[in-house]
Amino acid sequence: MLHELLLALYGCPGSVIQQTQSGSLRLIDNLPFISPSEVPLINRLCQLGAHYIRFQDFIAERSSYLDSDKQTAGLYAKVFSDALDNCLETYRARLVDLESELIADPYLSLNYVQCRLEEFQLLFPALSDLLESIERSNARGTQLMEKIVHRMPCGLPSAQSAFDALLQRCNRLAYRQIGDWMLQGTLDDPYSEFFVRLVDQKQQQQEQQKKPTAAVPGAPNATTAAADTSSIIVSTGAQKAELQFSLLPAYLPLTLAQRILFVGEAVRCFGLNESRSSAFLAELERLFLPRLETLADASQFDLLALEEFVADVRSHVTEQLWRLLMEDYSLEQQLQAVKDFYLMGRGEFYLAFIDLAGPLLDKPPHRMLGQQLRACFERAARAVGLEDDQALKQFDVWFDDSQAAAAGAGGSASDADSWSRVGLKFKHGWPFHLLFNDDILARYCQVFRFLLIVKRVQLTLQRSWAAQMIAKRGCRNSRVNSAALSKLEPHFLQRSRMQHAVDNLVYYLQVDVIDSRFNALITAARTQRDVEQLQVSHDQFVTALTAQSFLHNRPVRACVTQLLHSCLEFAGLLRNSLDSQRVDLDSLLQRMTALGQDFHRQTWHLLGMLTGLQAQSTTYLNQLLLRLDFNRFFSTAKPAALIPLPPHLRQTDAT
């Protein structure tokens, strides 16, 4: 009889102990040779057998479909079932011991069996619980570990140690994957069970397009949101790594997971460069693999130790990356190139470009414009002797002919001309994608457009100055009607005021904004030996640029745009009236007077706004204000002298 019982405990029910419909094992009723007092005892022992059968089924199921395509399949399932099997090994050994004992001593009673197996009476229900919860939720991958921790029975030392063993086996696998990811930059994860996964970027974009885009491009909240994701998702090549939040075990903090993600990405970055990677990876392995192995072998999961490990690898990798960027890829030069071309540090180049492209951009856009602009860009480079310039070769001009741009994203119609649709592409190579993601480049492009427009107005005003000087000389030779010239004389003064405003805007942008910020960025790049910090500094740099060029301040921006527009039209008219012997000089003069009026109103408005905003303690507004009103002309002059018109302009209007 006891033998029958042992078999049942081993999961082989016979005719005496039978398996019921619900899966439990029961002694059949009314057996004459068993005392009624033994029946519940046997039935209680049989529960172990029932659990065992269930465990066997689970193991058989899980380990068999390692290569099947079932959803719950995977390495973790395999490891878990192996660990479970391991755990049952003690049970099986106990049964074998028991059998030999029973054979040796036929007088051993049922109570002895119960006594020997009592410890499993606590463990098996707990394990069974765990399995049930796993099966119910279809847990897979690293989720299994979460389940184990969740179901961990407290206060039962024997059960707890079994659970620890289970967890430890799973953790080993997790550590191996973390190690692969952090130290090699590879993902050995055929069943995608790890909490980091690689996504094709194209696929990603399609997914994003499906989602309705609630955020307005250019709005500040959109940019901060984008900045957040950029620190989590670092793109490398065609594939992007991201966190799978559903697979992240609850006992791993999100920040830790993000660090792990970042380090892996950074290492992948190295991996893309064959020549550098081998030495770097060998070094990384030498430094950190032993530590990881100790961690993996520890019987208890130690979160603190893991965090420390991740932090150390991270600081090593980021410093290496920083070194790589600064020393091998001369980041400073790259940033200088960005300043020279995106931010118009190379004034003479843009002078030539605006000369060449200006006539094209003044006309309404057409299909070939993008191509023509590219040709202008190359010719401008040749003209200033930059045709072999490596930095310039990384840039490409393009024309945004999408419908959205044509409709004028800025809102007002004046924003929508061809000039505000010129863009600049930066073809950065590996490893600069760490700093220049799409979002940052888009913001550079915004600043670039603004600078281009300001520069164009400045140049037009300067050209009308040249025309004015030449006309003045020509007057002596009676080439230009001297009466007309004297009518224009007050407008020369008007032109100089416009020039003053635009020049100071340019100086403000170049010196107070770009130069100052750039200096800070370069200092940061030199001192922060950490790529992540560098990313933050760079992001701050671009954010400051967009903010201080008033790109987010709609009222100020609109006012500046209108002001520039008045200046542009005025300068054009002034040149026209000087260049040719036009008969309709009076109508030109009238229009110029009106533009002069507009300009004064806008300047007044702008200064009023800047003064108002100054109260909000934004120093950069103060900087522009100081430049525009340096001799307190605006703040002390009687408004009557400016608005609606200086008296002399009214005089010409009357004549």
Binding site: E348, R473, N477, L493, Q499
Partner: protein, 423 residues
């Protein structure tokens, strides 16, 4: 499309300044006296094309035309290490080599006679340039060649190149009464008329501080540099200031702190100006505009603070009739020049007190003219043969008077009516 400039050096003084100018440019661009780019400068991205053109792979040739009526200075240049720098075809020496005898009229008439040869050179040079922006003329207004021939060339430049800008570096006579050229007031007056009418921008320098260290190639083009400085057509006489001045002793300069504010403050001090205009107490002279170019490793955030402090301390007074400010451009210094000064600044300023310089010239002229002194040598020349009443003199005086008046008017708020009133 580079903005090329052709430099014309006239007369003894003009050629000396020119020499100094090219010496400086060469050292800053890393070009040897033979015009060969030095080994250490081959990777530079500086803009040599504004003032030089590339003859072949390694030779840079200045776009300079050297003109003199007497061969002494040019010959000394040709005997210097820089003899191979210039294009020899661009050197124009008068056949008889007698000079202009410090006589404006003689220089003017010789200019007329020799114009074929001179303009052959200028036009050849202009054709060789991709996009000529204008001319830079270095000369003195006191002597004979620089003033007389310079005047003639200025007029013809206007005719032949009506669309090109003309900037001059004009050395004004020192203010001391004693001068080796007695007819200097005549020469100056007659030249000033041309500078007023035919030039777009005049940088006024005193002969005493003729060290020309003028890095205008730092700016994108000539228009961009001078347009903001000359709001109205006739207010186009600029003063320059430089700090630290190279003439000062090195011990003194070492002690100096060099922050942006210090550079800007020093630039506003009269002693750092390269021209000294006598003070006139009754007129509240003021700045029309200021451009500072500061070279060196500097913190750009200091610029704003400096501007604020200058305004608070009222270190500079500005015109009351329009907005005006100090524009500050920061630039890196040339990597090839070893200088003891960490920071140096250059100022171009349009200041109304320049008129006192004109006034002094006019007073001197009036004194000479009232005695009709030394007029004979002028009347001998062809230009005055058809002009027995010497309208040339009275016209020039009128131009100068109105120039002085305009500068004085620019110190008052009424200046905005000036243009209309002149009409």
């Amino acid at each position: 499309m580079p903005r090329d400039l052709i430099t014309l050096q006239l007369g003894q003084c003009g050629n000396q300044i020119g020499m100094e100018f090219w010496r400086q440019l060469c050292s800053e661009h890393g070009i040897s006296p033979q015009g060969v780019l030095e080994e250490f400068a081959t990777s530079g991205s500086d803009r040599k094309d504004v003032f030089f053109y590339q003859a072949d792979d390694e030779h840079y040739v200045p776009r300079a035309v050297l003109i003199d009526l007497e061969p002494r200075v040019i010959n000394s240049i040709m005997n210097s290490p820089y003899c191979n720098l210039y294009n020899r075809e661009n050197i124009f020496k008068s056949e008889h080599g007698g000079g202009a005898g410090n006589n404006w009229a003689s220089g003017y008439c010789q200019g007329e006679k020799l114009q074929e040869g001179v303009f052959d050179i200028i036009e050849r040079e202009a054709e060789g340039s991709d996009s000529l922006e204008g001319f830079v003329m270095c000369h003195s207004i006191a002597g004979g060649t620089g003033s007389g021939m310079g005047s003639y060339i200025l007029e013809r430049l206007n005719d032949r190149f009506p669309k090109k800008l003309v900037q001059t570096y004009s050395v004004f006579p020192t203010l001391e009464e004693t001068s080796d050229v007695v007819v200097q007031p005549y020469n100056s007056l007659l030249t000033l008329r041309r500078l007023t009418q035919n030039a777009d921008c005049v940088v006024v320098m005193s002969a005493s501080t003729a060290t020309l260290r003028y890095p205008s190639y730092m700016n994108n083009d000539l228009v961009g540099l001078i347009a903001p400085l000359t709001p109205t057509p006739r207010l186009h006489f600029l003063m320059t200031g430089y700090t630290p001045l190279t003439t000062e002793s090195s011990e003194q300069t070492n002690i100096r702190r060099t922050t942006v504010f210090d550079v800007m403050r020093r630039l506003l001090q009269p002693k750092n100006m390269m021209v000294s205009a006598p003070a006139e107490r009754d007129i509240p002279h003021c700045y029309v505009s200021i451009l500072n170019i500061i070279q060196g490793e500097l913190d750009p955030t200091e610029v704003h603070k400096s501007l604020q402090r200058i305004r608070e301390r009222r270190l500079a007074s500005f015109i009351p009739w329009g907005p005006a400010s100090i524009q500050v451009a920061l630039s890196r210094r040339s990597p090839y020049v070893q200088s003891t000064h960490r920071v140096s600044g250059l100022m171009l300023a349009n200041h109304t007190s320049i008129s006192s310089l004109f006034k002094r010239i006019m007073q001197q002229y009036d004194r000479l003219k009232s005695h009709n002194a030394f007029l004979n040598q002028f009347l001998k020349e062809a230009i005055f043969e058809q002009d027995p009443e010497m309208r040339e003199f009275s016209d020039s005086r009128e131009v100068l008077q109105s120039l002085i008046d305009e500068h004085r008017a620019a110190t008052t708020e009424d200046y905005i009516h000036w243009g209309a009133r002149q009409a």
